[in-house]
């Protein structure tokens, strides 16, 4: 039986950049635990000699020339931004 603790949930939430309320942490601990327990089903299978599949098609690296092209203009790129200043995205302070 896999167990997942509240501290683990808080750690993962931090990695995922999600602020969770204490109530959500409780609920998530239970639900993630259930899902991970269910996933333990996969351990019935011996996969030591099985190659993992990352991609279903037999595609190798797809290369293209590294050439500059017309794409979205700066003023358009800023059009949907929550905040902008002097033609750049504005964010809250990074350093305390």
């Amino acid at each position: 039986m896999a167990e997942i603790s509240k501290d683990q949930v808080k750690h993962v939430a931090n990695l995922a950049r999600l602020a969770l309320e204490e109530e959500e942490v409780e609920k998530m601990t239970k639900q993630l635990g259930d899902i991970i327990n269910y996933a333990e089903l996969l351990n019935e299978l011996d996969t030591d000699d099985v190659e993992p599949t990352t991609h279903v098609l037999d595609l190798k690296n797809v290369m293209r020339k590294d050439e500059p092209k017309e794409w979205i203009k700066k003023e358009d790129a800023l059009k949907n931004a929550p905040d902008e200043e002097d033609g750049q995205f504005q964010v809250p302070s990074i350093l305390e």
Binding site: I72, N80, V91
Partner: protein
């Protein structure tokens, strides 16, 4: 009879003979939306002014040899980016994305074919869900009975076609999100082979599984819509360079001698007896048409749901990292530093199911758990893919139900993620293997809800899938039934 009860070919003839105009088609679409969408709730955004203007222009420009899709009213799932037309993925985090900067490749291709975009369709938030109950805006209802869900995540796409609000629509399918709602709503939905259709401009959920596909009332119209959107695309390096046949021609071949495999795992316990009986009836129909069928095994089927949730959630946790409140989307007003701004914007913008999957994926990819969960699931994916390849050595197509049950009631499964996930047990393996699958109507439950037949083919063998589907459709009348919603559909 509504205009949308005709086939594409019939409507193109009518357009050409000036019996109808593109404006008539577009007006019919909005009239129907006005009539029934307060019940069905399929649309998030309407494109009415632009669509009516475009219809006028198309009526003036109608030439000798228009595209077969000329002037046809289409609905687009809201995770497919449309330039200048609001695109939200049914999420609060994109609530203010009113002016997207580009068109998805499929939307560009449709513009070349001169379809008319009627509006954007509801879905489970970021395509995560099987009932449309995870939309942050509204719960789309099943047109056959509005107490029931339309399925998901492309619930709006399927319901809008079933309700006669648009002629056809585009959806996306990561674990069943086209086929399951098509089954629940009694319409035809295809998930193409991974790589057949460009994913550029499809907001990514799980990049190794996602595909865009057509939802229509008939198999032939489905083939026409697929034809318009396939092809390798410089903007999607995973799109494949393959020869594409003329689908609407190949579907007319009969199924004499077609070898059908029926996985015993797809008719086992957990599959509702009415669904099982209806599928067995369909197989009898195939026998009468000259095909043969045999029972086979896809022995790793029972592991597909667990592998899928680990893999798709892992990919989602990486893909959804882009929603950070910096470049577009909604930013929390409560934060006074950058890190809190990320965390609070995401906490306020994402719904419960999306958060749950981001958490699961982040956990499965995190240090110390990667091998045990993510890599293990990738290995099981190989076993599932091998199951399919083995069956296709001896058979042309695989046939079974699309879903274990007909549509369920709104609210019935919402509090239990694992029960909700089990809905996709028969569609998920197809995405893991990357092969094409279609759902088409094959009957109705005693409660009058549609039942879907799933036909699965080899990689890039959409032709045989369509051929088998078309032969069944021609021999039956299920696709001609209409929901009684708000009068005549």
């Amino acid at each position: 009879m509504s205009l949308f009860d005709y086939t594409l070919k019939e409507l193109q003839d009518k357009l050409h003979n000036k019996e109808i105009s593109v404006s008539d088609l577009v007006e019919a679409s909005y009239a129907r939306i006005n009539e029934v969408d307060d019940q069905v709730k399929a649309f998030l955004t309407l494109n009415e002014e632009e669509a009516k203007e475009q219809a006028k222009q198309l009526d003036e420009q109608l030439g000798e040899n228009p595209s077969i899709l000329y002037g046809m009213p289409i609905g687009i799932k809201d995770n497919i980016v449309t330039k200048g037309l609001r695109t939200t993925c049914a999420s609060q985090i994109l609530d203010n994305l009113n002016d997207p900067l580009y068109d998805a490749t499929v939307v560009e291709k449709l513009k070349e074919e001169k379809t008319v975009t009627i509006g954007k369709l509801n879905m489970d938030e970021f395509a995560m869900g099987s009932s449309n109950e995870n939309s942050s805006y509204q719960k789309t209802r099943n047109p056959w009975n509005t107490d029931y869900v339309p399925g998901g995540s492309s619930g709006g796409s399927a319901a809008s076609v079933a309700a006669g609000e648009v002629f056809f629509s585009l959806g996306s399918d990561t674990g069943g999100s086209i086929r399951q709602p098509a089954a629940f709503c009694g319409v035809v939905g295809l998930k193409p082979t991974y790589g057949l259709v460009s994913r550029f401009g499809l907001v990514a959920f799980a990049s190794s599984l996602d595909q865009i596909g057509p939802i229509t009332r008939t198999v032939e119209d489905n083939a026409h819509l697929l034809q318009a959107i396939v092809g390798q695309d410089k903007m999607d390096s995973t799109s494949a360079n393959v020869d594409v046949p003329n689908y609407s021609e190949v579907i007319n071949q009969d199924v004499e001698g077609l070898r059908i495999a029926v996985p015993k795992e797809y008719l086992q316990e957990g599959v509702n007896p009415e669904v099982r009986e209806t599928v067995l009836e369909a197989l009898k129909q195939y026998e009468e048409l000259g095909a043969t069928w045999e029972e086979v095994s896809l022995p790793h089927s029972k592991y597909a749901v667990a592998a899928y949730y680990l893999l798709s959630s892992s990919e989602a946790s990486a893909n959804l990292a882009r929603f950070d409140g910096v470049r577009y989307g909604v930013r929390s007003e409560k934060a006074d530093n950058m890190l809190d701004m990320f965390k609070l914007s995401r906490a306020e913008g994402f719904g419960d199911e999306v958060k749950r999957r981001i958490m699961l994926g982040t956990f499965a990819l995190s240090s110390g758990y990667y091998d045990a969960y993510y890599k293990k699931a990738q290995k099981v994916r190989t076993l599932i893919k091998n199951d399919f390849e083995k069956v296709f050595e001896d058979y042309d197509v695989i046939v079974g139900p699309t879903t274990p049950t007909p549509a369920f009631k709104v609210g019935e499964n919402i509090d239990d993620p694992l029960t909700m996930y089990a809905n996709d047990i028969l569609t998920i393996p197809v995405n893991l293997a990357g092969v094409p699958g279609i759902s088409l109507p094959c009957g109705f439950s005693s409660e009058g809800l549609p039942i879907g037949l799933q036909i699965i083919g080899k990689h890039f063998d959409e032709s045989k899938v369509y051929r088998a589907a078309h032969a069944f459709e021609k021999a039956t009348d299920h696709h001609k039934k209409r929901p009684s919603l708000g009068g005549e559909a």
